[in-house]
Structure formats: C-alpha cells, structure tokens
Symmetry: C2
Subunit: 200 residues, 2 copies
C-alpha cells in the first residue's frame, strides 16, 4: 500500500500569502522567508498587519476562497485519489487551507494551525511539530505504508528524500541545480504518469 | 490539531461481506470471524469460493459498487470533513473499499490490500501490519495530532482506548456491556455533536 504525500502551495494551489497580498492589495504581505528567514518573526509581522487592517480569520478565509487552485490541479488530484491514498503535507495553517481544500474536494491535509482570539483576530501560530513534513513520512512508513513524496521547495527536500520514492514538481532552477539526482515534472500528466509507475 | 479516525463497516457502510453475500446470493460468504476465528483461514475459504464462482476483482468491485453507504453517512462525513481531518481506519481491503470510498467522496482510508493474480482472481491478502488501527493512532499521535477514534466492534476497542478521546457508534449490546465507561451514539447527529465537543 502506497500513500502519496504532496506539498500544497506551488503544487496544487498558488502561494497563499502572495495571492492574499494580491487579492487585498496589501503589498507588505508579499514579504516571505526569503526576506525574513525567522519564520516566527515573519508571522508576527504578518499578524500585526492583519490586525492593523482589521482582517480577522473570517475575512482572511473569504479572501482565500477567491484564490483558485492551479489550472488542472483538481483534475489531477481527483485522478490520483482514485488510484491511491493521498495526504497533503503543508507548512501552512489549516484555517487558511480550508477554503482551498473545499475547492479541491476536501483531501486530507496535515498542516499547522492558528490561535484565534475572541475578537476573531490571529493571535499566534501553533506548529504541530518541527520538520512536520519529514516526520509525517516517517510515521506513515512506520505503519507499513510505502511512501511517495513530491513538492517544489526547500522545505520539501527532506520529505522527498525520506520517502521511498519522490520527485520535484515545478521547482525553481536553484533547487533543481542543487538536486540534480531528483526527477522534476512540470505538467500534471507527466507527474501522474511518474507516480503511477511508482505505484506498481 | 485533531484527526478523527473512524471505523468503516458498521459506522459508514454496511458490513461488506454480508452485503456482498446478499448481492450475489452466495450464502456461504456469510461466514464471519464469529464462525471461523482464524482470519487467514476465513479469507482463504472466501477466496476459494470467489474463484469457484469465477468472481475476479472487477466483478467483486462491480457488486460492491451496488452497496450503498448507510443512510446519512455521506452527509455526516461531509460535515465532519469541513470541521477537521478525518481518516478511516479499516481492516478491510482497499480494493473492496474503493467503490464505497467513491460514493463517500474519496475520504482517506488506511486499510489492508489484496494480491491479485494475472487472471484477476484474488490470490492472497496483504496485511499492512498487525493491530493496524491502534498503530495508526499511535503514529498520528507521534506527529502532534490530538486523536479521536470511533467504531462499533471488538477490533475498534484498542484504537478507541489509545486515542485521546473516542466513543462507540451503534455497537452490539455485548460490547456495550463489556465497556460501560465508553459513550455510545446511535444517530449521526448525536455522534457529530459529541465529536464537535471534543474538537474544542
């Protein structure tokens, strides 16, 4: 039995914070871990902006609901879920992912979560665990699953290498150059064909 | 973050082998672990009958596709999947579960699987691991999830007791009497309310 573990942002949906900045027009929210490597500091910065703008969880979710999955992502995921078990492993927050999961037909997602205040504002982030993606692969492996993992970013590499099989999907060129042994696919058709080969 | 783990047969769908015996009219397939406690011996008996009847995996899946989820099960599961992560933990085989998973909207299921011969006949069973339900709870707990588990049968008790919270659903009276400390629910509305209380 195989379980296929997929990164969310960049693989099935656009980068949520970038799309959110575009939807709201709040340019400051384009700041990413490339600009601020301390994730907790970055999230504090983002949460302060959201509070200043009066954007609570419900407003954020309504905005995220206008973000669409990547073209062809739903069809790809539907086909994959008919073939094997699929779990999305993401560093995002389940409250942010929810409007996108709805559009994708409620696949299972292992992510982090948010602490929401009585006023509906974001108060803090709750990380399920450090290295959550890789640890999930280890846990699934420990209960007898053959694991396949795919993603596009630095935070996906350890999960991909820990899994029994895996690949990159639409990664930027620097990740490709630093990981020449990993296969990369750029269309859902090629990606699905490669996964199918690995299910045999 | 909570993950809700549900047994399949008796909770969301009817007992598959009983329904299969009814659909096909093959009375011998009503034999269960109550008649033959050795599961591997029972499955060998069932596989021999299926081969004698010329029923390969595709025929079996076509028959199972005519079995419907329990009344209200899909609606219950849809509501639950909007609230939290859900994984079905079942001792059945993924190939048998598939036509039912399709009707339930492809929830994630951790189950066992079958070895299918070149002629399409069932050759053997492949258990993912012993005590698979309980071990899955342990694995999900190890990666930072709060776990909730529910089922109706003897093979669900260890999973329910291992989880952070749980209950019985439509259990037979002997299981109730032997486990007076466990709550039991008989309608999806009451069941969902109890799970919601445990998500807070």
């Amino acid at each position: 039995m195989t379980v296929v573990c997929l990164d969310l942002e960049g693989v099935l949906v656009p980068e949520i914070w970038i799309s959110f900045a575009e939807e709201t027009g709040i340019e400051e929210l384009r700041r990413t871990t490339r600009d601020e490597p301390d994730y907790h500091k970055l999230m504090r910065y983002r949460m302060d902006i959201l509070r200043r703008e009066g954007l609570g969880l419900k407003d954020i979710q309504a905005t995220i609901a206008r973000i669409k999955p990547l073209d062809g992502a739903k069809e790809f995921l539907d086909k994959l879920r008919e073939l094997t078990q699929v779990i999305i492993l993401s560093d995002t927050f389940e409250e942010f992912a929810k409007p996108l999961m709805k559009q994708l037909g409620w696949p299972t997602i292992f992510s982090n979560s948010l602490k929401i205040g009585d006023d509906g504002m974001l108060e803090d982030i709750i990380m399920r665990q450090e290295e959550g993606k890789m640890k999930a692969i280890e846990a699934l492996s420990s209960i007898g699953f053959r694991t396949f993992a795919a993603g596009d970013s630095y935070n996906d590499l350890r999960m991909i290498r820990k899994a029994d099989a895996g690949c990159l999907f639409r990664s930027p060129v620097n990740i490709l150059e630093e990981n020449p042994d990993l296969k990369i696919f750029n269309t859902y058709d090629d990606f699905l064909s490669f996964i199918k080969e690995n299910l045999k």
